[in-house]
C-alpha cells in the first residue's frame, strides 16, 4: 500500500482559550491535488504551521510519508515544500541568492543549488530574472518564485496556503495550471488551501475545514453526494449550515 504524502490524525491546537483546530484528521495521497477549502479563520494557516512544525500540536499526530513531524522532524521537513499565504521573500536578495539561500537551508551546496535554481526557474518562466532583485518582480512573479523556491530541495509534498491571493485572473490560472502539473506529471502530493471555489476541479480531492473542524473529505464527487449539494457552493453551504446547527444545538443543551 502506498504511503500517503500527508496523514493528519486527531490534531487539535489552541491559542490560549481560543481553539483553532479541534480533532482534525485528513489525508493527502501521494501524487494527488487536494484542496483544503475553508473560510477565513477556518484554521488552514494554523494547520500548515503545525505540519511545518512552526509550533507543535497539543494532541494528535502528523506524518509526512510516514515520518512523524515531532519525532522525526528532519526526515519529515526535508520531504515537504511550503508556500505561505503571506509573502516570505527577502526583497533585498536577488532571485538567484534567494534560491541559493533556501537550498543551503536544506543542506544543498552552491554548485548543486545553482543547477537546481536554473531548473526550477526555467519551469516557472523566471530564468531571465535570475539576477534581478526580488523587489523588482511583479506579484505573480514573486509567487512563482516562492513556488520555485519551495521545490528547490525536490520535495515530494507541496503545501500552498492561499497562494493566489492578490494575483490577477491570468496569473492565478497560470499558477494553478503549473501546480496541477506538479501533481499530475511529477507525482508530487499537493495540499492547496483556498477559500475560492473556482480553484477546485471535479477531479480533485477535497477537504472542507470550518472553525477548526473537518466537515467532509474525499473526492469532490463524494463530498457533493455526502452533502446533498449539486455544486460546490451549495455543498459547502449545506455542510457549514449543518455544522452551525449542530453547534447551536449542543450549546442549547449545555
Amino acid at each position: 500500500m502506498t504511503q500517503p504524502a500527508l496523514r493528519i490524525d486527531g490534531v487539535s491546537h489552541s491559542f490560549g482559550a481560543r481553539t483553532a483546530l479541534d480533532g482534525v484528521s485528513l489525508t493527502v495521497p501521494a501524487g494527488s491535488f487536494t484542496a483544503l477549502l475553508g473560510l477565513n479563520g477556518a484554521g488552514k494557516t494554523t494547520l500548515f504551521s503545525l505540519v511545518t512544525r512552526l509550533y507543535d500540536s497539543t494532541s494528535g499526530t502528523i506524518e509526512v510519508f510516514g515520518f512523524d513531524v515531532r519525532r522525526e522532524a528532519p526526515a519529515a521537513l526535508s520531504r515537504l515544500g511550503i508556500v505561505f499565504q503571506a509573502r516570505t521573500l527577502d526583497l533585498d536578495l536577488t532571485v538567484r541568492q534567494s534560491l541559493l539561500y533556501h537550498a543551503a537551508l536544506h543542506g544543498i551546496g552552491r554548485s548543486l543549488g545553482r543547477a537546481r535554481a536554473a531548473d526550477v526557474l526555467e519551469k516557472f518562466a523566471l530564468a531571465d530574472r535570475i539576477n534581478d532583485k526580488v523587489r523588482n518582480l511583479s506579484g505573480g512573479q514573486m509567487r512563482r518564485l516562492e513556488i520555485a523556491r519551495a521545490l528547490i530541495h525536490d520535495p515530494a509534498l507541496l503545501l500552498l496556503d492561499e497562494p493566489t491571493v492578490g494575483l490577477d485572473v491570468e496569473a492565478r490560472q497560470g499558477l494553478i495550471r503549473e501546480v496541477r502539473r506538479l501533481a499530475g506529471e511529477e507525482g508530487r502530493g499537493i495540499l492547496w488551501a483556498t477559500h475560492l471555489l473556482d480553484e477546485i476541479q471535479m477531479s480533485d480531492r477535497l477537504v472542507v475545514l470550518h472553525k477548526g473542524c473537518v466537515l467532509a473529505q474525499g473526492p469532490v464527487q463524494q463530498v457533493l453526494a455526502h452533502s446533498g449539494g449539486s455544486d460546490l457552493q451549495t455543498a459547502f453551504m449545506n455542510l457549514v449550515h449543518s455544522s452551525e446547527m449542530k453547534a447551536a444545538g449542543q450549546e442549547a443543551a449545555e
Partner: protein, 280 residues
C-alpha cells in the same frame, strides 16, 4: 514520486552548508545596507571624537588594571565603545529577526529540516560575525586617532569578542522572542541599550561611580554589560580577566537557553501565542 524511499540524512556537510548559507545571507544583508554599517561605525566614533575628547580634560583616569600608567579618557572609553558596538549589533540582529518574523522570512528559516537550536545558533553566529567586523573597523579608525593598544591585544581580543558578541546576541534573541511587532521592539531597545550602557564601566571606572553613588555602583556590578566591557578592556591589553569572562560566559549560556526555550515549537512563547499572521 515517492517520498518514503529517498534517504535524506542530515550529514555534517549539510550542517556546514546550512550554517554557511545563514552567515552568507546575513553578510549580504549587512553589506547591502550601507547605512547600517555606517551608523554602526559613526555612533562610537562620535563618542570617541566628540564626547571623549571633550571630557578628556575633565575626567582623569588613575592607574587601574589593565593599564600600567595614566591613560587618556579616549583610551579608557574605547573598550566600552567596542562593547557598545556589539550591544547595538546584538539588538539590531534581533530587530532584524522580529522584522523577519513580520515579513515571514523567519518561517522559511524555521521550516528547514535542521534542528531549531542549530538554526538559531547559526543566526546568532552570523550576527556575532558582523559585530566583530564592525568592532575591528572601529578599532582601526581609533588607531588612526592614536588610540592604540598593543598589537598582540588586537589578537587576544578576537576570542573575547566572540564571547561578548554571543552574550549580546543571545540577549537580543531572547528579546526578539518576547515581542511580536517592530514598534514594540524599538521602544524596548531604548529601555535596554541606554540603561545597560550608562549603568556600566563603559564610560567611568567603577571606583569613581562608587564615590558618587553606591546604588548606581551596585547596579553597575549586577549589569552583565559591565563584565563584557571589562573582558574587552583586559583582552585589548593582552590579558584575560577570568571573573569577567566567567560571568559573560554564564550570562550568555543562560540567555541562550532561555531564547532556545522561547523558540521551541512545543514549549516556547512562539508556540503559545503563535507568530504574527499565522493564526488563521
Amino acid at each position: 514520486m515517492s517520498g518514503r524511499e529517498r534517504t535524506k540524512a542530515l550529514s555534517p556537510e549539510g550542517y556546514a552548508t546550512c550554517f554557511a548559507g545563514i552567515v552568507w545571507r546575513e553578510a549580504l544583508r549587512f553589506f547591502s545596507q550601507r547605512g547600517r554599517f555606517l551608523s554602526a561605525l559613526v555612533r562610537p566614533l562620535v563618542w570617541l571624537f566628540i564626547f571623549a575628547a571633550g571630557l578628556r580634560s575633565v575626567l582623569g583616569v588613575s592607574i587601574i588594571p589593565p593599564y600600567e600608567t595614566y591613560v587618556l579618557y579616549e583610551v579608557y572609553v574605547t573598550p566600552g565603545l567596542v562593547a557598545m558596538i556589539q550591544l547595538f549589533n546584538g539588538l539590531q540582529s534581533s530587530l532584524s529577526m522580529v522584522y523577519d518574523r513580520e515579513v515571514g522570512a523567519m518561517r522559511i528559516l524555521l521550516v528547514s529540516p535542521y534542528p531549531r537550536w542549530f538554526l538559531l545558533l547559526s543566526k546568532l553566529a552570523a550576527g556575532v560575525f558582523t559585530s566583530i567586523l564592525q568592532a575591528y573597523a572601529f578599532l582601526f579608525v581609533a588607531y588612526l586617532w592614536e588610540v592604540e593598544a598593543p598589537l598582540m591585544g588586537y589578537l587576544t581580543l578576537l576570542p573575547v569578542l566572540v564571547l561578548t558578541g554571543l552574550m549580546m546576541g543571545a540577549m537580543g534573541l531572547l528579546l526578539s522572542s518576547l515581542f511580536r511587532q517592530l514598534e514594540n521592539f524599538a521602544s524596548v531597545m531604548n529601555f535596554v541599550i541606554f540603561p545597560m550602557f550608562f549603568a556600566s564601566s563603559a564610560l567611568y571606572p567603577l571606583w569613581r561611580i562608587q564615590e558618587s553613588s553606591v546604588v548606581l555602583y551596585q547596579l553597575c556590578r549586577f549589569n552583565p554589560f559591565t563584565y563584557a566591557v571589562e573582558a574587552i578592556r583586559f583582552a585589548l591589553y593582552g590579558q584575560f580577566d577570568t571573573t569577567s569572562l566567567t560571568i559573560v560566559t554564564g550570562v550568555a549560556v543562560v540567555f541562550l537557553i532561555m531564547s532556545l526555550f522561547a523558540y521551541n515549537p512545543s514549549k516556547g512563547l512562539i508556540a503559545r501565542r503563535g507568530a504574527p499572521a499565522m493564526a488563521d
